[in-house]
């Protein structure tokens, strides 16, 4: 009886939340309830991609700093660099509670989620000591200078040059879609140091100080009319030698690390997103329940009910997936699939959710920001439009599908 085992041996090793973590969660929840900032009298951005005005920025920066000072931020960063010491369970708890409470997001998202782990992996001791703490506290904001007008999906074709000079490098080139550049103290900059080398080997990764002469930041306007991203022109801008992260020519490899974090390698981040998504679905359910069409509740319409249930299934799969990803035994069939699929999954879920909301609104979906009669202040059509920021930014859904197809399913490369 090869497969028979005593039932005792099947006791799960991963206990439900420990008493200590339960207590921690209760503390976080209470703290958020006491400290969550009041709704301001100006419009908040829907995500870190759309932070436009000083007022929005100050509000969000203050919130991140407050959370950091309360000791609830930085559970993935060792104490010597200003973090709380690595404790991923606590990190998850904080993220879940923030998502659940509908608390404002962290403005320094790029720094927290993908710059910090990249520097922790490749940085020198000095770089870690200098740069990590102020990014946690939101004293120093980061932006990402990867994309260029001619290099989006095909990132390795980028042309921005960083030429080695006495004591450092001089940068000339053109970055675009640079989220938060207008508030940033630093940029992770991918630039070409060796034009003779192949398209990958010629790239280097820099931690570029934005307060340098020769940097011009021009805001770009999104389809919603909101700002948040920019183009950044470099005209012979100088940076010191210690701006280099890793070694010259190692840029592509480091950039791939950054992109892996950006696209969902951090499970705690994915769990936070799932909590926020759950909140968004709750709001949609409330909308369905309160919306009437032709004298009858929209919620009585079988077509809407079916699509709502489909979204619910999708959400639950994403929520469970974010947990399952850290159980090796339950990912054996397609290791890494969950992490690599994550970006496509959450971004397309949000798109479908906002789309359904607009359909629930029916005729009222046409009312836009600023119209006094717009349901939910036009957050749904705005959310629908902004959802494309996530299906395009950080690697488009099409590129993500190429990657998943090739890396997870082992399909041949599309050339």
């Amino acid at each position: 009886m090869e497969s028979r085992q005593s039932s005792q041996s099947l006791q799960s090793t991963g206990s439900p939340e420990s008493a200590e973590h339960r207590q921690f969660r209760a503390g976080v929840r209470a703290w958020i309830a006491d400290n969550k900032p009041a709704q301001p009298d100006f419009m908040l951005p829907q995500s870190f991609l759309e932070v436009e005005t000083e007022a929005q920025f100050d509000y969000l920066r203050r919130w991140q700093k407050q959370l950091y000072e309360a000791g609830y931020l930085g559970f993935d960063v060792p104490r010597e660099y200003g973090g709380q010491g690595v404790d991923s369970a606590r990190q998850s708890i904080v993220q879940q509670e923030l998502g659940r409470a509908g608390a404002p997001f962290f403005v320094n998202q790029i720094a927290l989620q993908w710059v910090a782990p990249t520097i922790l992996t490749y940085g020198t001791e000095e770089q870690k000591k200098r740069l990590i703490q102020p990014l946690l506290s939101a004293d120093e904001i980061w932006c990402q200078g990867f994309s260029e007008p001619g290099a989006g999906s095909d990132l390795a074709s980028l042309q921005t040059r960083a030429n080695a000079v006495e004591g450092g490098y001089r940068v000339t080139g053109h970055k675009v879609w640079t989220t938060l550049a207008h508030f940033a103290r630093w940029m992770i900059l991918l630039a070409r140091t060796d034009p003779e080398a192949d398209r990958y080997g010629g790239l280097s990764y820099f931690l570029f100080p934005m307060d340098t002469d020769g940097v011009v930041i021009q805001p770009l306007v999104k389809m919603t009319g909101e700002g948040g991203f920019n183009q950044v022109l470099f005209e012979d801008a100088f940076m010191p030698s210690d701006s280099l992260l890793g070694a010259e020519g190692q840029g592509w490899k480091i950039a791939m690390t950054t992109l892996t974090f950006e696209r969902g390698a951090a499970q705690s981040q994915n769990r936070e997103r799932a909590a926020a998504d759950a909140r968004a679905l709750s709001e949609l359910v409330a909308l369905v329940r309160s919306t009437m069409r032709d004298g009858r509740p929209v919620g009585d319409d079988a077509l809407f009910r079916d699509r709502l249930a489909a979204l619910w299934i999708e959400l639950e799969a994403i929520r469970l997936g974010a947990r399952r990803a850290s159980v090796a035994g339950l990912t054996a069939d397609h290791p890494h699939a969950l992490a690599m699929m994550h970006k496509v999954e959450f971004s397309e879920f949000r798109q479908r959710l906002n789309r359904l909301a607009c359909e629930v609104l029916g005729p009222e979906a046409m009312l836009w920001l600023g119209d006094a009669n717009a349901p939910d202040r036009a957050e749904w059509p705005r959310g629908l439009m902004n959802s494309y920021g996530f299906t395009i930014g950080g690697g488009t859904s099409e590129i993500q599908r190429n990657i998943v197809g090739e890396r997870v399913l082992g399909l041949p490369k599309s050339k």
């Binding site: 799960s12 870190f48 409330a286 009910r305 799969a317 399952r324 850290s326 339950l330």
Partner: protein, 406 residues
């Protein structure tokens, strides 16, 4: 909306969309589960390759009794049954992992039907009834069938019209019941020793365990779309059964609970089949050359396969959640949260297999449309799985009622 800034969204108090099933962070998965799964996987690869499925699809019996006995010896048939009735007393997760492997192999045979019949007797039977049936079912000496449906096409647990009436002791063999009605699509009924079926008695629902040798019972084989799943119509026309055939605690509650277990376990099997047809199609996409490259290099081939993967992985997460819920503290009672999880798993697994099989046929091209290509076995299993215990629309209809509170 995007991201968490929903402070700006003034709507009424949201209902909970976070399914509150209490499950451990690791879903209860242990090294023992890994071992069990790997053993089952190897066993299926060795003993039930697709060539064997193909052979059995044309076989009059429809499965390999020797293999079935071996599986029983490994403990699979009695996995969920208490040790005191000859079972292994393991958890639902163990069972689900094994069914995923048998689903992957499209194993023909009465494993799932026997497991479900045994679960019915286990949850609703008296001590005497359990002693009578469970050891034989657990050891693979007897085959069980469970009658889920009746003519008229309902997946509802309460869609039962068959009746049982008290029958006095007329011919000296004690009091009993007279059963009337028709049960359809009863999996492996024509091979079974015992069929468990619900009947209305007065205004109550009651489960009966009926030996197929019972006089007057008519079992008419159906022509199932999936030849690896033989089904039959079981006709009761004043069939007399002894009093002890009525499962003592077989009330509507346990019949519904059995459905919920059925959703989760069938979802596990369906998930396995979906992952297998994905693998088959993926392999073909790597091998088949057109326009001087493997067809998998074309994004019109690659991206749909990624979408299949997403559907399969979602099903895997939902099955893991549903199964962990069943193994949790409320498992025996079946809380609404567990029911919700199981319905989600069934809906998603059904969709995943349908979609995987759909792309499986299409992406094999002309070969995919032939009898010689194995893709169609999965397509047929997909049709059978969707038609059994509710398709995705059916479960979404119920889920919406939970979500909207009406």
């Amino acid at each position: 909306m995007t991201a968490p800034p929903s402070t700006s969204n003034p709507v009424s108090a949201p209902v909970s969309v976070e399914v509150p099933a209490k499950i451990p962070d690791d879903f209860g998965f242990t090294d023992d589960h890994a071992l069990l799964r790997d053993t089952a996987r190897r066993m299926m690869v060795d003993r039930c390759p697709l060539s064997e499925v193909r052979r059995l699809a044309g076989d009059p019996v429809g499965f390999d009794p020797d293999l079935y006995r071996e599986l029983a010896e490994l403990g699979w048939t009695g996995l969920l049954i208490d040790e005191k009735y000859g079972g292994a007393g393991l958890d639902t997760l163990s069972m689900a992992l094994i069914l995923e492997q048998t689903g992957r192999a499209l194993l023909p045979g009465p494993l799932w039907s026997t497991i479900m019949a045994a679960l019915a007797i286990d949850s609703a039977g008296s001590e005497e009834q359990k002693q009578r049936f469970l050891p034989a079912l657990a050891r693979g000496e007897a085959i069980g069938a469970l009658a889920w449906s009746e003519p008229g096409g309902s997946w509802q647990p309460d869609g039962v019209n068959a009746t049982a009436g008290k029958s006095p002791d007329s011919d000296g063999d004690g009091a009993g019941y007279l059963l009337d009605g028709v049960k359809t699509h009863v999996l492996w009924a024509d091979r079974a020793d015992v069929v468990v079926a619900p009947f209305v008695i007065g205004d109550e629902l009651s489960l009966f365990a009926i030996e197929t040798a019972t006089t007057g019972l008519a079992i008419e084989s159906e022509n199932s779309v999936d030849p690896t799943r033989r089904t039959a119509r079981v006709v009761f026309d004043r069939v007399r059964v002894p009093e002890k055939a009525r499962l003592s605690a077989g009330h509507a509650g346990s019949w519904r609970a059995l459905h919920v277990r059925g959703y989760a376990l069938l979802a596990a099997e369906t998930l396995g089949a979906a992952d297998a047809i994905l693998a088959l199609t993926r392999d073909y996409a790597c091998e088949r050359i057109q326009f001087n490259r493997p067809i998998g290099a074309f994004q019109a081939v690659k991206h749909p396969l990624v979408n299949v993967l997403i559907a399969v992985e979602r099903a895997r997460s939902l099955v893991a959640g549903a199964v962990a819920g069943l193994d949790g503290p409320s498992g025996a009672e079946i809380s609404p949260a567990v029911e919700i999880s199981a319905r989600m798993a069934k809906a998603q697994a059904t969709e995943a297999l349908n979609f995987a099989a759909d792309r499986g046929i299409q992406l094999h091209g002309g070969f995919g449309f032939t009898w010689d290509c194995d893709a169609h076995w999965f397509f047929k299993r997909a049709l059978w799985s969707a038609a059994t215990l509710g398709d995705a629309i059916h479960h979404r209809r119920h889920l919406a009622a939970y979500l909207l509170g009406r």
